[in-house]
């Protein structure tokens, strides 16, 4: 088990990268500008790539270097580029009608982190891993999950919803790098590729939304009810 016998330096490096990723999620939560979301997501992807490389180095998993490079290329460069193209096509640059003000969203996000921490600490104690970086990884994985759902629920713009989905995935990917670094390479690669296809599909649908609905806000998508 990797997390049980880490040098203090490695443990702090993992923690630092993971916590910075969580902070970037809060940047997304606290802003209403679409470009802020995109920048935060890009930075988060780079941090995750760095984390993969760090885990590969300290845990002696050479295949994680490949994962790190692909994460950087796919999540860090290609996805942000695709998202940038989608944003350029829209004629808006910020969320206009949030269900939740950014300030309230931040408070809700903090609540999500506390809840995630309680669950993670409980599980960590049961597994005999209390106080290790595994608890932190679980916390951040669950917290990013909850915050991603919060973004999906509270934001209306198509692009915010796409980024909400990506935050959900980033959280899982980040946690899995620390918790299960030995996961077969194939799965990580296919999931990366899958993400790319998801974003391309969503991009095409955004184009249809613009052409056939005339709006990309889910506030205007309420014809189908009952």
């Amino acid at each position: 088990m990797l997390v049980a016998n880490l040098t203090p330096l490695a443990a702090s490096l993992f923690s630092l990268l993971a916590i910075l990723s969580l902070v970037l999620t809060f940047v997304m939560l606290g802003s209403r500008w679409l470009m802020d979301y995109l920048r935060a997501f890009t930075a988060q992807s780079w941090l995750i790539a760095a984390l993969s490389a760090a885990v590969g180095y300290y845990g002696n998993y050479p295949e994680l270097y490949l994962v790190a490079i692909l994460t950087l290329v796919f999540r860090g460069l290609l996805l942000p580029y695709l998202l940038l193209r989608i944003i350029r096509r829209l004629n808006i640059n910020r969320e206009i009608h949030e269900t939740l003000q950014p300030s309230s969203a931040l408070v809700a996000g903090a609540g999500a982190v506390i809840f995630a921490f309680i669950v993670a600490q409980h599980l960590g104690a049961l597994m005999g891993l209390a106080g290790t970086v595994a608890v932190l990884a679980l916390t951040i994985m669950l917290a990013m999950k909850l915050i991603g759902f919060l973004m999906l629920a509270a934001r209306h713009e198509a692009i915010s919803q796409i980024l909400g989905l990506l935050v959900l995935e980033n959280g899982i990917f980040l946690g899995s790098q620390i918790l299960v670094p030995g996961m077969p390479l194939l799965i990580e690669l296919v999931i990366l590729f899958d993400l790319l296809v998801v974003v391309v599909s969503l991009g095409v649908l955004v184009r249809y939304l613009l052409a056939h609905v005339g709006s990309t806000s889910s506030r205007d998508l309420k014809r189908l009810v009952g």
């Binding site: 088990m1 899982i172 299960v180 969503l202 249809y208 056939h212 014809r223 009952g226």
Partner: protein, 487 residues
Amino acid sequence: MIGALLLAMTLAPAVAGLGCVVVRRPRVCEALNLVASIVVLGAAIVLLVRPGDASRTYWNGYIVFDRLGAWTLLCTGLVYFLASLYAIGYMRMLDEERRLHGFYALFAAFAFTMLLGPLMNNVGVYWIAIEATTLVSTFLVGFERGRDSIEAAWKYIVIVSAGISLALLGTMLFYWGGSFVLGPSYDMTWDALASAAPRMQPQVLLMAFLLVLVGYGAKVGLAPMHTWLPDAHSEGPAPVSAMLSGALLNTAMLGIARFVSIVDRAALGPTPRTVLIVLGALSLTVAALFIVRQEGVKRLMAYSSVEHMGVLALGFGFGGPLGIAGALYHMLNHSLNKSLMFFGAGIVMRSYGTKEIAAIRGVLRHLPVVGALWLAGAVAITGAPPFALFLSEFMVLRAGLKTGEIWAVVVMAVLLIVIFVGFLNHFRRMYFDDEEAVAPQRGSSRWCVLPMWLAAAPLLVMGLWWPRWLWDYFAVAAAQLGGGGAG
């Protein structure tokens, strides 16, 4: 032999899909897709009756072939074949000749992804196959490019992707839990997880299972994660609705059944099954409420899918040989019957030019053959004898009585009666109300009526005569699933 059949079965739709992209001639694409569906159905039937009981793996253990998978493949193959026949007639009515090759390419690709799911031995790759079905079918749902269908497609992909990401998290937790038993690096096959389950930390296992259940439950359309289903199933073209409802939901349900059999081996107590049963009962409740007051024809069918997925969840939740047999039998019956219902709904909607139940009157007078088949289907899908769904629903109820979950049995029985009354009341209005509606614009092609006959006939036959070997087959399938639960 089996390996070659599996290969032919999965490659046929893939090749047909590519062929459609290359050839682009509508008539050729129709033929390609139909041939592929015949290959798939033929292979599925041969695979079903092959000898041998053990589940086997192929291709370095990436492909698994067991009774449960074979059964799901049969359901998928049947619906794919019927829907391909129907699509030939239906899609010609849409006047989309120029985009028709795109439709058939997506249609075949959708079938391809659905055939992959049940065969995947690796739990992570299974997740990817299920995710792929969403990505392909989104564009089929939005194929008509109307305002409503794009809205449905968008809601479908966002809700299901978000939901299914929970299943990925659960899968990771399964792997994490297993890594304490099997070492940090192992192949996450169904068997590996099942063998590690008894020694995994129970709380981690339970949390992983609940996440997986909610995640795949969103894909199956179990309430309260069903919200995308009525939109997607009602806004796509009718053959797509049939595939979504009759084939796709089963493919995801198979994952839930396999995860249930994994957690059965650990000492988790009754919680996992109880949660599944509660979700099933909740689905029936939501379906009953929305069926009674429904105004759209295809939305009525969509909520009926929520109902039947609830029945499947109850069947797998009750477990035991009887519950699993009932659920598997119900899976096939529902696939056939829901295809029939969506085929009928598609013809009726096109003929009357409306989706509203209120605007459809005198179906039997205007469309005698289609109307009669559709009415028979409606009686069958509400679980009335002498049709096969009566038998399978009754079996699930009996399984529930055996396990002692009396409250669930009572809830199920009452709600099935409510749905019976509510569902058929809509049909009474469409068939026997005196008020005159606008007469239908056009008739229906033979391509559309033939699959309705093909779907209706086995429902009646299997309702009257239940072959012995089918029971034996289910018994082996239940044994392969561990036959867990009381019973």
